[in-house]
Symmetry: C2
Subunit: 284 residues, 2 copies
């Protein structure tokens, strides 16, 4: 077993897509803020599971006692970038009772006749929960921009609506973590080939994947615009280098740990007389 090597400082500062951020200059191979190797990162992921678990349980416990705190992790990425792996290996270490994963596919007919935030609103986490969006309302300013399904005026309306929506969630006590998993075009090619070479992964391959891949540069432009328009104080974007799956996982785990840590969680105090209850139980 390799030694557990932690982040020296939280990677949140280096990963944040703040003013002046340029996606084209972000290196998908890099491991910002992390000095360890893959084996150390894998060990770190396992070592932090327990801490994440306790914080999530505290969040859940507080939620039962009137706290409005909750967490929303939004995952966006090109195909094969590893959203599924984040859900399985990072989110999956938490108790399913306190976690809600919401995947957003192409909208249904009913969803299409509503505003784009209608289906999103229905899936936001309740107090005490960790919600995870596997794709999100950002598709409405990404794929819609790439394919021209929304014009500039409509895109502007949506960016503003998103910012208002997220600000409202934050005011309600939601810690919002927006993650773009950043893989390179070459890495996507390698992963698509790996899927084709493994019959147990054929079900994950769609002949449509190549159609979207052809628009790679347009997607990168659309993401850049998203960061410029919607990386706000209360809901910043984090661009996580994702060519190395192990790094993306520990980075997202760390972002979750940091967000939970800032919520200042504690075990709810008993609202009953412990000694008296003890006596009642003994007699029962």
């Amino acid at each position: 077993m390799a030694a557990v090597v932690g982040f020296k400082d939280s990677p949140s500062k280096e990963l944040k897509a703040g003013p002046g951020f340029s996606l084209s200059e972000a290196d998908p191979e890099s491991t910002p803020g992390y000095k360890g190797k893959k084996s150390n990162g894998v060990a770190l992921l396992a070592a932090q599971d327990g801490r994440l678990d306790v914080l999530q349980e505290m969040l859940f416990a507080e939620g039962k006692f009137g706290s409005s705190k909750r967490v929303l992790l939004i995952l966006q990425a090109m195909d094969t970038a590893g959203k599924g792996g984040i859900v399985k290996h990072v989110v999956g270490s938490m108790d399913p009772q306190g976690v809600k994963v919401a995947p957003f596919k192409a909208p249904t007919d009913e969803e299409k006749v509503h505003d784009f935030l209608w289906r999103i609103e229905k899936a936001v986490p309740a107090a005490g929960f960790v919600g995870v969006f596997d794709r999100s309302h950002y598709e409405d300013v990404l794929i819609h921009r790439v394919h021209g399904w929304a014009n500039e005026a409509e895109l502007e309306r949506r960016y503003a609506a998103i910012n208002e929506f997220e600000a409202r969630l934050a005011e309600q006590g939601t810690a919002i973590i927006k993650v773009m998993l950043n893989i390179s075009r070459d890495e996507q090619k390698a992963r698509l080939l790996a899927r084709l070479d493994d019959p147990s992964k054929h079900w994950k391959y769609s002949t449509d994947d190549l159609k979207e891949r052809a628009f790679w540069d347009s997607y990168m432009d659309a993401y850049q615009r998203v960061f410029e328009k919607t990386s706000t104080e209360v809901a910043p974007w984090y661009v996580v280098p994702a060519n190395r799956k192990w790094f993306a996982r520990i980075a997202v785990q760390e972002l979750l740990l940091e967000a939970l840590g800032k919520l200042d969680l504690s075990w709810p105090k008993a609202e009953f007389d412990v000694a008296a209850e003890r006596a009642r139980v003994v007699e029962s």
Copy 2:
């Protein structure tokens, strides 16, 4: 690390509440069909995680390709019996993307003005999913019987409605596993005291817990009746001895593995020409 000791035969036969089953004769301390000790059981739970994970992913993959197969695990028990631990340690080893946990609390005002199966129907798993009910429609024939909220005629109507409902789910391709975690009255007392002795567990304690505990014998009668009325061929009840948490967990894991195994799962075959797609990706 202790050696992994498996079940010699699946415990499903011994645990099944078939004709003639008597709850009062079932021993909550026992470990039917299992020769190992606690340490072996803990090792078994970890060792089987991977197999459960692969089967669940196959189920999910088949669901994407038109299969109607799905799994529904129904958990019922007295307070502190360990439903939460089953969800966390057994269900929690599967990928959250393919698992839906539905907790059923006291019904809301809206739920109350519908038939008792209305809210249940909305929570049944979609094709490809593993659904988990933490409590269920059985509360409507358990707590309702214990407190006389439903009379005999209404209870009879509900048993019949449940059987029809579950038979329909089974016809739609749902493998139904109904588990009653069987703890003893003394064990519940010990666990309630343990909760009171640990401030990080106070949030799990309710002063109402003792109220239901006072009706222990009525609950056991109500469970016995549930087994007699609703342990059917397509949706049998399993009574899992639960005084030893480690045993309850490996038993439920084994029931899940057996149910998934019977679904005859396999990776969906590619509906595209793999070599042709490979060439397209290389060129892309």
